[in-house]
């Protein structure tokens, strides 16, 4: 076949398109001028400003707390849902559960957010709980949509996995709980880790759902960023973006090298 230059060039243009905005965010975070287009020399002052901004620091702390708690509970609930759908044989609620596990993945965020808020308001009137909206209601909302992602990730791992080892353990007299903790859990551990990381990222990134179900004093990091960038470009947000990109790049590249080593 004749060598064509179309494909590599198209791919290169695509990769440039993916990375030029990210690179420009990083470069302008070191710009010593408040106007984004005017280059005023190198500086790290925006990073200092970032760490002195109590609003951003407070919101980051709230977001991290919500992220860790909702990712952990979503991983537990999502794994149980995946087990029920793959390992429990005939289950009466299978159709319902399958539908409820896949639907959040395609549901527009504005609808999920609105419906959860209206539920919380109705519950407050009928039961008096939750008394006010805030960190708790955001966490519940995040658990709900994250567990769907975890269920999908874990389910595909359970389907691919050879279940003869589990059967052997059961034949040798291990109770279902023992089989789960001694055999199944270690084998699906990688899927649990990626499910947790996915949930944590989704939770940390969510603006729309959190905006609907939050209350006074519970602004998450995306909510603070959004209210700042709606007014225009601000260099301290560039600094924040650079830190997040750095953190993610180190984490992902580390995981990539770790997995390559494991494969060898």
């Amino acid at each position: 076949m004749r060598r064509s230059y179309f494909l590599p060039i198209a791919a290169l243009v695509g990769f440039l398109f993916l990375y030029i905005p990210i690179i420009s965010l990083v470069i302008y975070s070191f710009n010593d001028s408040k106007l984004v287009t005017v280059w005023g020399g190198w500086t790290t002052k925006w990073y200092g400003e970032l760490f002195r901004d109590p609003q951003i620091l407070g919101a980051a702390w709230i977001s991290l707390k919500i992220g860790v708690i909702s990712a952990t509970i979503a991983t537990i609930l999502g794994t149980i849902a995946a087990l029920v759908l793959t390992r429990f044989g005939k289950v009466r609620v299978r159709g319902l559960l399958t539908g409820m596990v896949t639907a959040p993945l395609v549901m527009p965020e504005v609808i999920t957010g609105l419906s959860l808020l209206l539920l919380f308001v109705a519950m407050e009137i009928a039961l008096g709980w939750p008394a006010q909206r805030g960190v708790l209601t955001i966490t519940i909302a995040h658990i709900t949509f994250c567990m769907a992602y975890v269920a999908v990730v874990v389910q595909s791992r359970l389907v691919d996995m050879d279940d003869s080892i589990e059967e052997a353990a059961a034949d040798l007299g291990a109770k279902p709980v023992r089989v789960f903790f001694d055999i199944t859990l270690p084998m699906i551990a990688p899927a649990l880790i990626s499910g947790w990381l996915l949930s944590f990222t989704l939770s940390l990134d969510d603006l729309v759902i959190a905006s609907f179900v939050s209350g006074p004093g519970s602004s998450t990091l995306p909510m603070v960023i959004f209210s700042k960038v709606k007014l225009g470009v601000s260099p301290d947000i560039n600094a924040l973006a650079t830190l997040i990109i750095l953190f993610v790049a180190i984490g992902i590249t580390g995981a990539w090298f770790f997995m390559r080593k494991q494969l060898k």
Binding site: M1, R2, S4, F6, L7, G14, F15, F17, L18, Y19, I20, P21, L25, Y28, V36, T37, L77, G78, I80, A81, V84, V93, L96, L97, M100, V101, A103, V106, P108, E109, V110, I111, L114, S115, L118, A122, I125, I140, I143, T144, M147, A151, P176, T201, L204, L207, V208, P222, I225, F226, V229, N238, A241, I244, V248, A249, I252, T253, W256, R260
Partner: protein
């Protein structure tokens, strides 16, 4: 055996007598959670969409009203009638579907060559390129949309570059137009298109392409007659992952679009947060579910069945 163990044993046998088993409890936990926090909320939205707006807390009329002769149901379809009367909502629906449709095609055009290139490259280059595709996905969506404000605005990076190169004299107005929305959508949803396409293209049997070339077909003809039809499942899967969420997108039109950019997610948001009309916002949500989400979910189910049968 300690006291708490006997206690646990007693509780367990009591539960078993009541018809609960460990198995039943395990099934119940995720099912109940999703029932309460995913399914029931839609019933609440449905209920409020047939209520009348009130200036009160909560800002809607109750569905069940206690009158002199017992309880009665008070429901109105006026919110839905309002959606049909005011051309804003119909326009917003069409505009969302139009933007989602064209941006899906654009994402496909940008993503297909990339996915094909990755699928045909050798290890370790292949997994490195895949890593580069996935990496932006793990960084903040909001910040990636924000990055385009600095690039596209009138005195932004792009205009600065084009003016200094002498290509244009006046800055291009891109930010706050639909073009900026398209750029933002293609940019943020590109990984969702590339990954399913790659998963499909990597399985493509190279001998088919060789056979086609041996029989005298040009590379272009081989592509359109062999590669493209075989990658159709990947194209459909990727297009779904882009098309569905884009219809309800709020962040991209809010940050990159202008006041004329009508999208249904933005309309729902404005109705709720700015106009504080909860019943109309609920009606918009229900209409959006019926008009967009349900058909697409059926399409997806049909597609999964077709794949299972294949």
């Amino acid at each position: 055996m300690s006291l708490s163990d006997t206690q646990n044993g007693r509780t367990a046998s009591l539960l078993r007598k009541m018809g609960f088993s460990g198995r039943g409890l395990v099934i119940a936990v995720p099912t109940l959670w999703l029932l309460v926090f995913f399914l029931i909320p839609f019933l609440v939205v449905l209920k409020i969409s047939v209520a009348e707006p009130l200036i009160a807390r909560p800002p809607y009329s109750p569905l069940f009203v206690e009158g002199p002769d017992g309880w009665s149901i008070k429901a109105t379809l006026s919110n839905y009638a309002y959606l049909l009367e005011d051309s804003l909502y119909i326009k917003a629906y069409w505009s969302s579907i139009k933007i989602a449709f064209f941006s899906t095609i654009l994402t496909l055009l940008v993503g297909y060559p990339m996915a094909y290139y990755i699928a045909r490259s050798q290890e370790p280059k292949r997994s490195l390129l895949l890593l580069l595709i996935v990496l932006p996905f793990w960084t903040s969506f909001l910040l990636r949309v924000y990055a385009w404000i600095g690039i596209l605005k009138a005195n932004g990076t792009l205009n600065g570059l084009l003016i200094s190169l002498g290509i244009i004299n006046e800055p291009l107005i891109i930010l706050q137009t639909d073009i900026a929305v398209y750029i933002g959508v293609v940019y943020t949803y590109l990984p969702f298109m590339i990954l399913p396409l790659y998963a499909n293209l990597v399985k493509l049997d190279g001998s088919l392409l060789e056979a086609s070339a041996d029989l005298g077909a040009s590379p272009i003809s081989t592509f359109f007659r062999i590669t493209l039809p075989l990658s159709l499942p990947g194209i459909i899967a990727g297009s779904m992952l882009v098309f569905i969420p884009v219809i309800g997108e709020y962040v991209i039109p809010a940050l990159l679009g202008g006041p004329d950019t009508l999208m249904i997610g933005k309309v729902l948001w404005t109705e709720f947060f700015n106009n504080r009309d909860w019943p109309v916002a609920s009606a918009v949500a229900i209409a959006m579910l019926i008009a967009v989400v349900v058909p697409v979910m059926f399409l997806r189910m049909a597609q999964t069945k077709a794949e299972e049968n294949a």
